[in-house]
C-alpha cells in the first residue's frame, strides 16, 4: 500500500495541522526535529492530571497504585514493542540525550587510557559530546568511522579500526541530517567480535520502522518519545540486563535506593536504579499512548507511505534548477537534506517560513557532516505519515519562488 487510505482522518487527529502561520496553512515538514502530537496523546496528559495525578511506587493509597500501574504497564508496552527480554531492561529517561549520557558516564568505570571507543561521522552532537567528555575523563581515545559521498558509513574501514582495545561503539540507526539507515546489524556483529559494547541511537529510526533489540543483539538502544508522536521530555533506554547491572547509577536520589544510611547506601534493582526522583509520569504514560497510536496505523503501513512521500518529494525537488541533495543512500528514511545553487539555507528557510512551511535549516546538530560536504548547512525536509503529496507540491512551488527571489 502506497497511500494511507485514511489520511484525512489521520490528519484530523493532529489539531496543530489546522494552525495558520503568517496567514498560510501550516505545512509541517520538520518531523525529524519533533513530530506532532495526536489528540489521544494530548488527552492522555490531561486525563492523567485530571484523574490520576499522584506519585508512583511509594503510596499505599489507591491513586498512587493506579498511577504506578499505568506507568509500569507502559514499561511493559515498550518491552514488547522492542522485544526486550524483560521489563527491567526498559529505563525511562528525559530523552535520547539523557539516555546517552547515562550510559557514557557509566562507562567511565570501565575505561582507561589504553582503551578506544568508536563513533561515526554521521552522528548528532548528542552522540558525540557525551563520549568526548568520557574520553577527557578517562584518557580513552575516540576513532571515527568515515562516510562516503552519498552519506553511507564505510564498514570496511570500521572493521579495520576494531581491536581488543575497542570498548564501546556508538552509532545512530538513522542519520538525523541525511536520513541514511545504517547497517547496524553488521556494526553490532563486528563490534561484538572484538568484545566491544554497542549503543545505537534510534531516535530517528523508532518512528519509522520496527526495532527488535533481541534480534539485533544490541547492548543499548535509545530513543525519544517526541519523535514518534509522544510528548517532549521522555526518552526510552533499552539496555541488556547484564550491562545495566554492571553500570553504576547515573543520578542519586529517591526511588533508586534500597537502604540509605549516612554510612552506606545500597541501590535498588533495575529499573529503579536508573530512575532517581519522581519521573515524568504523565509523559511516560502518554508515550505509551503514542506507541499504541503508531502501532494502530502500523509501522509497515507508515514505512510504505513515508517511502512513497520520500520518492515523490525527491523526484519533484530534483526538478528545481540547481538543487543538490546531500545523503543519497539506497536505504533512507523520509528525510531530504539539500541546498539550492549557492543560496544560504537560512535565506530559503526564512522566505518559506513566511509561506507557512516549517523546515529545518542549519547544521542539524551534526557539524561534522556539514564539514565533510564543506557547506554551512542544508535545508532539511522530513516527512511524517500525516504529510501529503499536496504539501510537497506547495513546498516545491515555494522553493522555486524563493530561489528566484534570491538568485
Amino acid at each position: 500500500m502506497n497511500v494511507l487510505k485514511n489520511i484525512d482522518s489521520i490528519r484530523k487527529d493532529f489539531p496543530i495541522l489546522n494552525t495558520s502561520i503568517n496567514g498560510n496553512k501550516l505545512i509541517y515538514l520538520d518531523n525529524a526535529a519533533t513530530s506532532q502530537t495526536p489528540n489521544c496523546v494530548i488527552n492522555s496528559i490531561s486525563d492523567y492530571y485530571k484523574n490520576l495525578n499522584s506519585n508512583i511506587h511509594r503510596g499505599v493509597h489507591s491513586l498512587s497504585q493506579m498511577a504506578t500501574e499505568k506507568y509500569e504497564d507502559t514499561r511493559k508496552k515498550f518491552k514488547s514493542h522492542f522485544n526486550a527480554k524483560s521489563s527491567s531492561e526498559i529505563i525511562f529517561t528525559s530523552g535520547t540525550t539523557h539516555s546517552i549520557n547515562l550510559v557514557s558516564s557509566g562507562f567511565s568505570k570501565f575505561l582507561n587510557i589504553d582503551d578506544e571507543i568508536i563513533v561515526s561521522q554521521l552522528e548528532h552532537h548528542s552522540n558525540i559530546v557525551p563520549w568526548q567528555m568520557l574520553c577527557e575523563k578517562t584518557g580513552a581515545k575516540m576513532k571515527v568511522i568515515p562516510m562516503n559521498n552519498i552519506g553511507e558509513l564505510d564498514l570496511n574501514e570500521f572493521s579495520k579500526m576494531l581491536s581488543a582495545k575497542t570498548k564501546v561503539v556508538f552509532v545512530n540507526h538513522v542519520s538525523n541530517a541525511l536520513g541514511t539507515v545504517n547497517d547496524i546489524e553488521e556494526i553490532i556483529r563486528l563490534s561484538h567480535s572484538v568484545g566491544a559494547a554497542v549503543l545505537i541511537d534510534g531516535a530517528q529510526a523508532v518512528p519509522h520502522f520496527n526495532v527488535d533489540v533481541t534480534k539485533l543483539d544490541v547492548d543499548f538502544y535509545v530513543c525519544s518519545a517526541h519523535k514518534f508522536c509522544g510528548p517532549t521530555g521522555v526518552g526510552i533506554l533499552y539496555g541488556k540486563e547484564e550491562w545495566l547491572n554492571k553500570l553504576p547509577p547515573y543520578q542519586g536520589g529517591g526511588e533508586m535506593i534500597d537502604e540509605v544510611s549516612f554510612e552506606k547506601t545500597t541501590y535498588s534493582e533495575l529499573p529503579n536504579k536508573f530512575e532517581a526522583g519522581t519521573p515524568n509520569i504523565a509523559g511516560v504514560i502518554a508515550s505509551g499512548i503514542a506507541l499504541d497510536y503508531i502501532n494502530n496505523i502500523g509501522l509497515g503501513n507508515i514505512k510504505d507511505y513515508e517511502d512513497h512521500l520520500l520518492n515523490y518529494a525527491t523526484e519533484k525537488l530534483l526538478e528545481i534548477e540547481g538543487l543538490k541533495i546531500y545523503g543519497e543512500s539506497k536505504d533512507k528514511t523520509s528525510v531530504i537534506s539539500f541546498n539550492i545553487k549557492n543560496i544560504h539555507p537560512y535565506d530559503i528557510g526564512s522566505l518559506i517560513d513566511n509561506l507557512g512551511i516549517a523546515v529545518r535549516t542549519g547544521h542539524h546538530c551534526a557539524q561534522p557532516i556539514m564539514d565533510f560536504f564543506n557547506i554551512p548547512g542544508t535545508i532539511r525536509v522530513s516527512f511524517c505519515f500525516y504529510n501529503t503529496t499536496g504539501e510537497i507540491d506547495t513546498l516545491v512551488d515555494a522553493l522555486k519562488k524563493a530561489s528566484t527571489m534570491l538568485s
Binding site: 543560496i343 544560504h344 537560512y346 535565506d347 526564512s350 522566505l351 517560513d353 513566511n354 534570491l406
Partner: protein, 139 residues
C-alpha cells in the same frame, strides 16, 4: 542625519510594502547592495556569535565618527545588517550609545525573526554599542 531621522526614514520605506514577501524582496535588494567589509577584516574575531548565518562586523573611527563595515554569507541577514549600518555608521560614539533602536519593531522585523535569529540580531546591536563604548573611552 541623526540616528532617529534615519530610523524614521527606514520605517517610511517599509510602509510602502503591503506584503511580507515585498518586504523581504526589499531586504534582499539591500543585501545585494551593501558596501561590504574588506576581506582582511573578515576575521574570526569579527564574527558575531548567535547567528545561524555568519556575520562579520568591523568598525573604524574616523574624524570623531564610527564607520561600520559588515558582511554575511546569507543575503537576508546582509539586508538586515545593511539597515543597522545605515543607522549607525558615520555617527558619534555617544549618539550610538544613547540611541534607542525602534525601527526593527516598527517595520515588524523582530516578529518575523525566530528567537534564534532575534538572538543574532541582539548580538549585532550589542556589538555595535560595544564598539561605540570602546571608542568613546579611547577618545
Amino acid at each position: 542625519m541623526k540616528i532617529k531621522d534615519i530610523q524614521d526614514e527606514i520605517v517610511g520605506e517599509f510602509d510602502i510594502f503591503e506584503t511580507w514577501m515585498d518586504k523581504y524582496e526589499y531586504l534582499i535588494e539591500l543585501g545585494k547592495s551593501v558596501p561590504v567589509i574588506d576581506e582582511i577584516n573578515k576575521t574570526d574575531d569579527n564574527i558575531i556569535k548567535g547567528c545561524q548565518s555568519k556575520v562579520w562586523l568591523h568598525a573604524e573611527q574616523d574624524e570623531g565618527v564610527i564607520r561600520f563595515y559588515a558582511d554575511s554569507d546569507a543575503i537576508i541577514t546582509k539586508g538586515i545588517v545593511s539597515l543597522l549600518i545605515r543607522t549607525f555608521s558615520n555617527q558619534k560614539p555617544e549618539d550610538i550609545i544613547n540611541a534607542s533602536l525602534d525601527f526593527i519593531d516598527k517595520i515588524g522585523l523582530r516578529q518575523h525573526l525566530s528567537p534564534n535569529r532575534a538572538n543574532g540580531l541582539n548580538n549585532m546591536i550589542k556589538k555595535i554599542k560595544f564598539y561605540a563604548i570602546a571608542f568613546s573611552k579611547s577618545n
